[in-house]
């Protein structure tokens, strides 16, 4: 019955409690709860249908997985989530207190020395400096490519970090790589832990990533990611690339 959002079972009539709570008191209690949850103020307005996008959907799947794990009565067989998690990812989820996702923005990095690869940039400024980085990964979707003559052909997807040298030039620093066949469809994850740790400690060094694809048989021959179906930019909402960060909360609780 209450519109305050707070329901207590203390033997008193709920409506009587509502009458005694003024608007200011309700607001104060809301702020207390927000503060307790580490949310001192609400974020900006959120766009419509945000759950269609890949990053929120990924985290919602992890949330449901966690709920299943917490609720021992509901066995995992009941899970409606279709999220594939590797053993390493499962460990990272177990170890972390905070999991954040970041959608890519492509328009941030100026002229970069590249030919056919794609640039990706993630705004990691919201990551609290005090938190420990357990891990981070880039998740990109690979669909069917244009040239599907040989589905068994193997390609290497490499991710580089853009760095600025002492001379002011932009260079590529190898971060991680993985091999996929041309016929593979699904999500690919690449380890970005080292990148994120740098970006959190030194936000100004975040110049983004460079994604490069080449056939295993011809290392010097770079192809466009979209040629083998790798989705980078101008993607459907549910196939947008994103970065996941696994963080462990520091034990310095602020006095209130």
């Amino acid at each position: 019955c209450s519109r305050s959002g707070i329901y207590i079972d203390n033997g008193f009539d709920q409506t009587a409690i509502e009458r005694t709570m003024t608007r200011d008191e309700k607001r104060e209690m809301e702020l207390e709860i927000l503060s307790l949850l580490g949310l001192p103020k609400r974020p900006r307005t959120i766009s419509k249908n945000p759950l269609k996008r890949s990053a929120p959907r990924f985290l919602l799947d992890i949330y449901k997985t966690l709920m299943d794990a917490d609720n021992e009565d509901d066995q995992r067989a009941k899970r409606s989530v279709d999220v594939y998690l590797s053993g390493e990812e499962q460990n990272q989820i177990d170890e972390s207190d905070i999991i954040m996702t970041f959608e890519s923005a492509n328009d941030h990095v100026p002229n970069v020395r590249h030919e056919r690869g794609k640039r990706l940039w993630f705004n990691a400024s919201d990551v609290p400096v005090a938190e420990d980085v357990v891990g981070a990964e880039l998740r990109i979707y690979k669909g069917n490519g244009k040239d599907m003559k040989n589905v068994d052909a193997v390609y290497t997807i490499t991710v580089y970090q853009l760095i600025k040298t002492d001379e002011g030039d932009k260079e590529l620093e190898y971060i991680s790589a993985t091999n996929v066949t041309a016929g593979f469809t699904g999500w690919i994850s690449l380890n970005l832990t080292r990148c994120l740790a740098t970006w959190v400690a030194f936000p100004n060094l975040n110049k983004g990533l460079y994604l490069s694809v080449h056939p295993v048989s011809r290392p010097g021959h770079e192809v466009r990611p979209e040629d083998i179906g790798v989705v980078t930019v101008k993607a459907e909402d549910e196939q947008q690339p994103f970065m996941v960060a696994f963080l462990r909360a520091a034990n310095n609780i602020k006095p209130r």
């Binding site: 519109r3 974020p43 900006r44 985290l59 905070i98």
Partner: protein, 134 residues
Amino acid sequence: VTRETRTKKDTFNSVMTGYSKVKNERQDLRRSCRIETLYINFKDLSWTDWIIAPDGYPAFYCAGECNFPLNAHMNATNHAIVQTLVHLMNPLRFPKPCCAPTRLNPISVLYYLDDHNVILKKYKKMVVKSCGCH
């Protein structure tokens, strides 16, 4: 006559005492240490546009007194008995055992940081699963 009156009075007192006893027992039962409901509904607070999950926070809380005998209460620790005895010896100086959570579960909250970034935060020991005397 005097004797009869006294008997009637005693009977009346006895009945009243019994009534009070039942009433007190009910009060004690109601006031004894137990888990109580506290639920914060995010929808009613208009938070669901930025908190994706869960729908609310089922916090619960522990309330009530830990009176002797402690075995009437849920999950009393052995030391709560010692604390009760100390309290009985000097009630003004030493407090009773406390009614407090004996088991706490975590809660996870999934919310938007802004239009692009989403965060899943785990909060340890946030939901009371059981209460007891400590």
